[in-house]
Symmetry: C2
Subunit: 191 residues, 2 copies
DNA sequence: CGGGTCATCTTGTCAATGACTAGATATGGT
DNA sequence: ACCATATCTAGTCATTGACAAGATGACCCG
């Protein structure tokens, strides 16, 4: 099962599933989550126009796989930073910036099958880390739910605004630096 | 605002531009910002398959018009609530919930022509209200920019999370009520 | 070695779509 | 009454997503 550069000219690709996913991520990065065609992915991977559908069923299947892989990577990132809620918030934004193609699909339910088992498992894993972080943020107290939502919202909102270029000139300079100064206000409130 | 039962069978529609826009908003509400075709809009409006293109140029043109109209309505909503920053935050979320179809297009630059004059004017108008509100939130102080971004992020993020159904069970019950409790934490910090 | 089995990939096809062209029809100004 | 122009229709083409049927070769068992 070597993944390698085997079979440049062979009938069987060797790792077409991976190649199509990579092509999809590239295409998403260039023109958004739906600015490409299955046939374009096939061309990028150098295979026939129907080959991608064999591995993913249909276009939605490709996006489902992207979302599933994205949530898995996302959960990994969050877990590495989960000691401190503020760190998790920074990791949230950093993931969105560093893995834009994944992020842009993950939170767009109309694009993929949200009930896909693999996607659901990964999403729940990420959700568990967020919930745990939130519990550390607001220990006890009636405002726990609100605090949780506020923290999640500020990270998600900043990431979204940055990704779609809505931030006027604020994103100039180091994104992470700006993100930190914003997140601090909510994650490290002098209550 | 029935534009008219005029000309049910006439060659000219009378207000096709409006009819296509309404059809687009309806379609977006049902299946997302790109889950429809120009020809479907034509069918909904009862005109030929090429009629919509005459008024909007192409599919991107329809989305551009939706975004422009959306930003105009958005600016109106914000202006009505601009006295108090917290009220503006609530209006922000309420607009997203009440005018979901508009909102889902407005903050997705890859879908439309962001440099469209009409869209740009409306967007700037909304931006000005937000900036003004933010100034009231954090009068002076070096953290003004961070506070502004945090407030914007929390409203935008909550709206986005609610719209794509990411909030676990928090959205159960009155959305506005939950939104208020979240926004309060950032907009009315007991500093 | 040899044959069978099956996932992988290709070729062929079809309806739907976006975009374009040319033409038909109404509207309003003069 | 005439005509310039905006509005809408009919026709066309390349591209696309989805599907069906067939070709290829990897792997297994003897």
């Amino acid at each position: 099962m070597e993944v390698g550069q085997i079979s440049q000219s062979s009938y069987h690709h060797g790792n077409l599933r991976r190649a199509v996913l990579d092509a999809a991520l590239e295409a998403i990065g260039e023109s958004g989550p739906s600015g490409w065609s299955l046939r374009e992915l096939a061309r990028r991977a150098g295979v026939s126009h129907a080959a991608p559908a064999h591995h993913f069923g249909d276009k939605t299947g490709v996006l489902t796989a992207v979302a599933a892989e994205g949530f898995a990577l996302f959960a990994d990132s969050l877990e590495r930073a989960a000691d401190d809620p503020y760190g998790a918030g920074v990791a949230y934004v950093r993931f969105a910036v560093d893995h834009r193609a994944y992020f842009e699909v993950m939170f767009r339910p109309e694009l993929y099958r949200t009930d896909d088992p693999e996607a659901a498992v990964a999403r729940d894993r990420a959700g568990a880390v967020l919930a745990e972080s939130a519990r550390k943020l607001a220990p006890g107290g009636g405002s726990e739910r609100a605090t949780t939502l506020a923290a999640w919202s500020v990270a998600h909102g900043f990431a979204g605004l940055w990704l779609n270029g809505a931030l006027p000139e604020s994103a100039e300079g180091n994104v992470e630096e700006v993100a930190r100064s914003v997140l601090e206000l909510v994650f490290r409130r002098d209550r």
